[in-house]
Amino acid sequence: MHNSSLDIIYADNKLSLIFKGELTLYDISKFQKKTDSIDFAKYKTAVLDFTNATHLDSAVAIFVANLEKKFASNEIETETVCDKRDILNMMALVKSQKSRYSKKAEPQKIGVLEKFGRVIYYKYSLFVFFMAFIGELFANWLHYISSLKHIRYKEIFFEINESGVKALSIVSITNFLIGIVVSYQSAYQLKIYGANVFIVDMLGISILRELAPLITAIVIAGRSASAYTAQIGTMKITQELDAMKTMGFNPYKFLVLPRIFALMIVVPILIFVADIMGIIGGMIIASIDLGISSTLFLDRFGDVIAAKHFFVGIAKGPFFGFLIASIAIHRGLSVEDNTQSLGANTTKSVVEAIFAVIVCDAFFSIILTKLGI
C-alpha cells in the first residue's frame, strides 16, 4: 500500500527521529512501540525530521503532538525539521484544536447504592408507564363503546383480515397436526387396554377445552404480537405517533383499540376452526390406527362430549386476544428511539404474550374446575 518508517538515531544526548514516507494512522502502533523504548532521561535535545515524509494525517499529527509533550515533560528540547506546508499546517491544526478542549472529564464513579437506586427507579418508571397505559386504555375504551359512532369499523376489519383471516391456514395446519399427534400417542396407550373407543372422550375434552385455545393463542402471539410491536415501535421511531397526536388523531383510538378489538373478535373464531381441524386430525388417526370409523367417532362424540367443553374453549378466546394485543401494543409504545430497543421489545412482546396466555389458561383451569364447569 504505502511505505513509511521511523528511524531513531541515538547520539550522545541528542535524539533524532526521522519520519519517512506516507504517515497514516495504520503506522501509529508501529511508531508507538519504537518510541516507547526511548529512555527519556538520557537526552537533552530531540530532532523530529519530516524531510522525507510525503504526507501526514491527523492521527499521526496527534501522535507527534503527544510525543512533543512527552519530551517537554522530560525537559528535552524539541526541534522540528520540515519543509512541507501541508505537514506543518496539519500539525498546527491539531495543536490549535487540542488547546481548545481541556482534558475530558472522567466519567464520575457510581456507587453500588446509587446503581441500585437507578435500577429501582428505572423499574418503577416502567411500572408507572404500564399503569398509565392501562389507565389510558380503559378511559379510551369507555369512550369507544359509549357510542357506536366512535368505533372505527374500518380499522377493526382491516386488523381482523391481517391477524385473523390471514392466520387461518397456519392455525388450521398447526391444530390438525396437534390432533394427529395427540391421537396417535393416546391410541398406542389405549390399545394396550383395549379401550379403543375412549379415544373420542380423550380427544374431545383435551382439544376442545385446552389444546385448541392454547395452540391458537400461541400461534397468534407469535404472529401478531411481533407484528404489532414492530409496527407501533417503528411508528414511534419515525415520529408517526407524534404526527398523529398533533393532528388530533388519538393513537389509542386509531391504533390500539382497533387491534385489541380485532383480536378479541377473531381469536374465538380461530379457536372454533382449530377445534374442527384438531378433531379431524384425531379422527383420521382413530380410523387408521384403531379402526374407529368416522360415523362411530361422531356418534360417540355427540354422546360423551358435553357442549360446555366447547364453550369453555371458545370463551377463553377474547381473554387471550386481549392479553396478546395489549401486551404487544404496550411493548410497541415502550420502544425508545433506537433500533436495538425495537428488537428487544419485539422479543419481549412475544415472550410475555405467550407467558400471559399460559398463566391466564391456568387460572381458567383452576377456577372453572372449582366451579364444576
Binding site: 500500500m1 501509529i28 491527523s58 492521527a59 496527534i62 496539519m90 475530558k104 466519567p107 425508545e336 428511539d337
Partner: protein, 251 residues
C-alpha cells in the same frame, strides 16, 4: 491537477424510467464539487453509484484510480477506507453513543491503543465544532444540526481523501447552514480533502463550491465554475440561478 473521479457515458435505468443517459463528469483533486439539479434528476443516484451502493446499467466510473466496474474485493475495501460519506439524515448507528459511532472504524480497521483512539475521536469531535460532552450522547438525543456534524465527524475519522456529502445542509436552520458551509471549506483547506456534494441550497452553492455540474434531462448540461453558469442552456439553471438574459448572472 489530476482527476480523482471520472464518469464516462453513464446510463442508469430504473425499470422503465431512464435517469442518466450518456452522463460525463470530471472531479479534480482538492476542489469542492457540487452536483445540482431539480428533484428527481438523479443527483443522489449518481452519488450512490460513485460510492458503490448502486450499479449503473452501463458506462464507467473511476474513483481514485479504481474502475468501480468489476472491482476486486480487496481493492474495494482499500477504496472504502479512502473516502467518507455523509448521508442526508446523518446515518449514525442508533445503538451506539456518538463517541462509539466515531470510533467504530478505528476499532475495526486499525490496531491503535484505546488511549490513541480516544484522542483521535476527541480531535474529530472538536474539529466539527461539537462539545466533548456531546460524545456521550446517543443519536436520538442529538438535534438535527448536531446529527449532521456528528455524521461528518464519523465520515472524517479515517482521514479520507475524498468526502461525499448528500445534501449536507438540508433541514438545518439558516445560521447552522452558514456554519456548516464554513466548516466544510475549513476542513477542505486544513485536511486536504476533495469534496463532492449534492446540494439544493443556493447560498451554500455560492459559499462553498469551486466547480459544479448541473444534471438536467438525464445529462450534465453544465460543468465548470460558477462564473460562466449563464452560458448554460437549461430551464433549471435559469430558474435556479434566476439568470436575467440582459444582465447576466446576479450574484
Amino acid at each position: 491537477m489530476s482527476n480523482i473521479i471520472e464518469v464516462r457515458d453513464l446510463r442508469t435505468v430504473f425499470e422503465d424510467r431512464i435517469v442518466h443517459d450518456g452522463l460525463n463528469l470530471n472531479i479534480k483533486k482538492g476542489e469542492i464539487y457540487g452536483i445540482l439539479g431539480s428533484s428527481g434528476a438523479g443527483k443522489t443516484t449518481l452519488l450512490r453509484e460513485m460510492v458503490m451502493l448502486q450499479e449503473p446499467q452501463s458506462g464507467t466510473i473511476n474513483v481514485l484510480g479504481y474502475n468501480l466496474k468489476n472491482i476486486k474485493y480487496e481493492d474495494a475495501q482499500k477504496l472504502i477506507q479512502q473516502w467518507g460519506v455523509l448521508f442526508q439524515s446523518g446515518a449514525l448507528f442508533s445503538s451506539l453513543s456518538l463517541r462509539d459511532n466515531i470510533a467504530l472504524p478505528l476499532v475495526e480497521y486499525t490496531d491503535l491503543s484505546k488511549a490513541m483512539i480516544d484522542e483521535i475521536v476527541e480531535f474529530k469531535i472538536s474539529i466539527v465544532g461539537l462539545k466533548q460532552s456531546d460524545g456521550a450522547l446517543y443519536p436520538s438525543q442529538l438535534s438535527g444540526g448536531m446529527k449532521k456534524k456528528a455524521g461528518l465527524a464519523s465520515s472524517l475519522v479515517m482521514d479520507p481523501e475524498l468526502l461525499f456529502l448528500d445534501e449536507p445542509t438540508s433541514g438545518l436552520d439558516p445560521i447552522s447552514v452558514r456554519e456548516f458551509d464554513a466548516l466544510i471549506v475549513k476542513l477542505r483547506d486544513n485536511l486536504n480533502l476533495s469534496v463532492v456534494m449534492v446540494s439544493h441550497d443556493l447560498q451554500s452553492v455560492y459559499d462553498t463550491i469551486d466547480s459544479l455540474a448541473i444534471i438536467d434531462n438525464k445529462k450534465i448540461v453544465y460543468e465548470g465554475s460558477l462564473k460562466n453558469i449563464s452560458n448554460a442552456k437549461s430551464d433549471f439553471v435559469e430558474s435556479f440561478f434566476k439568470i436575467d438574459n440582459k444582465e447576466g448572472l446576479i450574484l
